[in-house]
Symmetry: C2
Subunit: 358 residues, 2 copies
């Protein structure tokens, strides 16, 4: 249950809150755009539902609202950015812009980021490259909820990867997914519904397979994409590891089990080897490879061939990555963004603190 709100109204609310904690006018806007891109695209777990969590990070002194986000090392095609504990929602677009600017000059740009925190949805940042006829890549590590194959310890986050690829007449290809069988948001949805998970999503703290959506609270773990060894979980574990290393180890952020958690009630890991959480961004100019029009025409052909493939009985069509989220965005821009009652209550409490009602 819940009510639907127009984007502009939510935007004004979110911007007001970020301004309220001390962010600049520009940063408040950037953060609101990043955050609400999740709600628009239907990833409700990563959007406005997390707003009060960001505020709690600030209250706990873990977010700087006037950060000195800066390049600490660079080459013509690379940079490392220190986010100075700024909002990931602001640090990420800063870093992605550097990747795009380097791609303009030398064909591609690659930026690893330390000392940041939760950046919202990866796809939003990757998509910044599209308007420049570039392929965009965004990934981030996250606090450990995932047990590598054969492990009972949680050592990796859900570590998402997003890749956006421009097309011509067709809309862009935009993949954005956690490197686990199921994203944590889907698990939370089942927790609210008191439902069971399919096998292969979670394991108990002893490493037995489980269908209990509350298993994480019991010390269990999410499983890497693949679920178990026989179904390729070592591949999901490998992907999560690559995201962790590109985001955390390459930048000097924390990695593996040392990535700081988003909820402030979870204690910080001990002996942290780096600063904050890490992200990794890439931008590749299409015409650094071949003429953009030729590429886009082939992408249209690719997309149309896949979309028109013969389907399993009962399935309407083969989906192109980005289609469901774009349709959701169009629908929500028109009809408003649903806000669940529990989230709304949380936002009203937050609004009171900062002198705004929703």
């Amino acid at each position: 249950m819940g009510s639907a709100y127009q984007y502009d109204r939510l935007f004004a609310f979110v911007k007001h809150i970020f301004s309220g904690i001390g962010c600049s006018e520009a940063d408040s806007s950037t953060a609101a755009v990043s955050l609400l891109s999740a709600d628009l695209r239907g990833v409700d777990s990563h959007g406005i539902a997390r707003l009060s969590g960001y505020v709690r990070l600030w209250e706990a002194g873990r977010v700087h609202v006037t950060p000195d986000i800066r390049i600490v090392h660079e080459t013509p095609s690379t940079a490392v950015v220190n986010g100075d504990a700024g909002l990931g929602l602001v640090v990420a677009p800063f870093a992605m812009k550097i990747a795009i600017s380097k791609a303009e000059k030398v064909g591609t740009g690659w930026v690893s980021v330390s000392n940041s925190n939760h950046f919202g949805i990866a796809g939003h940042h990757a998509m910044m490259a599209l308007q420049k006829d570039m392929i965009g890549i965004a990934m981030t590590n996250a606090s450990a909820l995932v047990a590598p194959t054969f492990s009972i310890e949680r050592l990796l986050g859900t570590n998402p990867i997003a890749v956006s690829i421009p097309a011509g007449e067709e809309p862009p290809f935009v993949a954005d997914f956690a490197t686990t069988t199921a994203a944590n948001g889907k698990l939370e949805l089942l927790q609210h519904k008191k439902g069971n998970t399919p096998l292969g999503w979670v394991q108990t703290k002893e490493g037995q397979s489980s269908v209990n959506a509350d298993e994480i609270k019991n010390g269990g773990s999410l499983l890497p994409l693949g679920g178990d060894r026989e179904h390729g979980s070592h591949k999901g574990y490998g992907l999560g590891a690559i995201v962790d290393i590109f985001s955390g180890v390459l930048s000097g952020a924390n990695y593996g089990p040392w990535v700081p958690p988003f909820p402030i009630y979870i204690p910080m890991p001990e002996s942290m080897p780096g600063e904050g959480i890490g992200h990794f961004f890439g931008a590749m100019r299409i015409d650094a490879f071949r003429p953009a029009e030729a590429f886009k025409s082939n992408m249209d052909n690719w997309i149309r061939r896949f979309r028109s493939a013969k389907t399993i009985p009962g399935k309407e069509k083969v989906l192109i990555h980005g289609d469901p989220e774009r349709e959701m965005e169009n629908e929500r821009k028109r009809s408003g963004i649903p806000v669940a009652d529990t989230v709304l209550a949380d936002l009203q409490t937050l609004g009171k603190k900062f002198g705004i009602t929703l």
Copy 2:
């Protein structure tokens, strides 16, 4: 069943065959090293077992043995290479060297390749970057055996991704995996044993789940990593699509269902939109991000933490990507490379044609 052969003996044999079809001395060596890296690392499906297949491609006029492999477009950090229908085993190292050389100059190098064919194992090419203290990336598209989520048509190859990452005292992290639940080689192994597959590896030509290892021969398909929608197959499909687009669409090679098959008895696709098959390579200099020694020290910490994680009862340890293959390589360099009887018979026939015995 089979016999074990020392690496040097197999190398001399393979090199002789490639010379026999007209490759230069240097190309024959390069191709033999690429091919046999699969046997050394335990990926028997991609090594010497395929030698006669490469020769058949040459006999069918689909491989040029004196190709004009060339850069057709470049920027400081990118290039597109046209392989001129050369052996993928030779084209891939050529392209990876360009990626490495660009990384030396501007921090990273990215090379998309058209007009190539089967390049052996991706990991071998990615690992070329290690000796330069670089992260190496290699991927390739392949002829369509995989049905995207909800499709009954085969539209993607097993499209592997390899990423190699240097460490300090620890050996490097080397992930190399097909973006399907199970690689085709594992399926072939079960076919020989007349065994069943686990659920989630293959589907029938009508799109029903199946455990029949011969399902591909019946018109069925391999499944993307994840297996089905509920277990995240859209993520495996997305990964396979990204590999296909980076390798095929970005270079002007074929893509999707139009990628030419390796076995010459399978008819070529109609209305092919590009040239040959496509690869994609990347090299990122570690010190384009941070001092290599600091990175490597963190990588050692990463590897040791994961390797020492508490395990599920009955499992000895959490594996680091690259460990099993490196152990296999050490063992096979010592004790020889096993060659199955059927492969041996095939090689003896081939040897007779080219005046060499194994």
